[in-house]
Symmetry: C2
Subunit: 251 residues, 2 copies
DNA sequence: CGGATGCTTGATGTATCTCAAGACGTGTGG
DNA sequence: CCACACGTCTTGAGATACATCAAGCATCCG
């Protein structure tokens, strides 16, 4: 199942970059912080193919995963097959910093594209946390933001119209990807399918497709060849009723 | 705004009961744990009337609140007035254990009924955490459960039909209230209005009313005079596709 | 008594789902 | 090299679940 690659120290440094960029949006990191985090990424980088599960609901959580490249998602499903994506993991995100506390995973984690990630042992993590309270704070901050994003999604699915909801998701992804330097001007790689977008937004594939076209027709976005370009960010934000504050970026 | 009451040590002990019951569902608490928590609840108990805000989005968080009696909610709203309740607070719940880390609240907290709650200073909390790692673990556990409940709500609003969704919410509230000993057999006080239920479930008031009647007609629940009685728990759980594990109660 | 709050019901329109099919690109095996 | 399967996106047609608008009734309270 898992493909493993042992990587050298140099590649290691590259792999940790997204996380460092992300955390430094919240608060400055000094060299010791960076070194401590890099120290966690020892050994092996794991890989997973698109459309495979990284973890399943019910699994006993034992490791902490840090996504290095590709997109993954947290999802939950119902016995009859209905599925809801409850969050996206982008490079630099932890797929469950704290869940090893619990005895059983209450959701699944799936690779949406080919992904690469580190697995970190909780005890290694604990050492870093004990040694560097400042880092602990940054990590906790990130967890709180993740939780805030979930609340915003509830607002979106519960109250925003499909058009507003989709617009909102695009703006959110724009800011999150920009935080890890994966945005080029207003364009970024967008490797997931309309099917995934529908599952994340709680609507049918057909309707998602039509809503997407509405955003295109309105001149707000362009989406083709797995590339999303935001054409009119201000207007997209207005349509989405987007308020940046829930992401809690300082810079 | 706030009504304040200074309370004696005895009343204090009663007020902390829901929290102790809740945490002991996760792991056993010894006498020292209980004493440490009780020690936090010094001084004043605050009160708020139904339909008032306890905190507003954008506020700077400075205190940690522990709900002692009544029901409150976390909600978010849109500029045009649409409102989504993203979580209920029941007695024994903290309204934001960690949020004082962030500079700004990304959601509001409203009292649904008359409520009583303690305000705790972060530094007091920190002392307890530093002194009693076991308690820290229990509190973190509870935070993770809260986060898991949010995910379950996303699944509900995104994929469950209104009937399934409402059934699911009732079962969830049953278990949560039972955990703090507020359930009598299969019945409990249900002090919120259909309007609140609609806002929590992301549907219109009219449709919520009809869905409620459907549950009644199916012989699954009785709801009258602010009392909810679950008539057929097994069937209600089946309809809701309820899986208890996301609540992570051990007992 | 008058007003506020909460619950209920009816009528109507429409947003969204479901079912179905076609087009296009890509990879694969014969 | 062609035939075919598969994944993805797109479009059409029809059915319906749900929202909206509107009104009535009960209870409580000042």
């Amino acid at each position: 199942m898992d493909a493993m690659t042992t990587i050298g120290a140099k590649e290691n440094v590259t792999a940790i970059e997204p996380l460092l960029r992300l955390l430094s949006r919240y608060m400055p990191l000094d060299e010791a912080d960076r070194a401590a985090l890099s120290g966690l990424m020892v050994g092996t980088l794991l890989q997973r193919e698109a459309r495979t599960d990284i973890a399943r609901e019910g699994d006993k959580p034992t490791v902490i995963r840090l996504l290095v490249s590709g997109w993954a998602c947290r999802y939950k499903d119902l016995p009859d097959g209905r599925r809801q994506i409850v969050g996206f993991f982008l490079p630099g995100d932890f797929c469950d910093l704290n869940v090893y506390i619990l005895s059983e995973l209450d959701h699944s984690i799936g690779a949406l594209t080919d992904v690469r990630y580190f697995e970190i042992q909780p005890h290694q993590f604990q050492e870093v946390i004990d040694a560097r309270p400042h880092l602990t704070r940054a990590l906790l901050w990130h967890e709180l933001v993740t939780s805030g994003i979930q609340r915003e999604w509830l607002l979106s699915i519960g109250q925003r119209s499909p058009l507003e909801r989709l617009a909102h998701l695009f703006v959110e992804l724009y800011y999150r990807l920009r935080a890890v330097d994966l945005v080029d001007d207003l364009a970024f790689d967008f490797p997931i399918t309309q099917h995934h977008l529908a599952e994340a937004n709680g609507m049918s594939l057909v309707h998602l497709n039509r809503t997407l076209q509405e955003l295109r027709r309105a001149g707000l976005i362009e989406l083709a060849d797995r590339q999303l370009r935001i054409v009119d960010l201000d207007e997209l934000k207005r349509v989405a009723m987007f308020k940046r504050s829930y992401l809690h970026f300082n810079r």
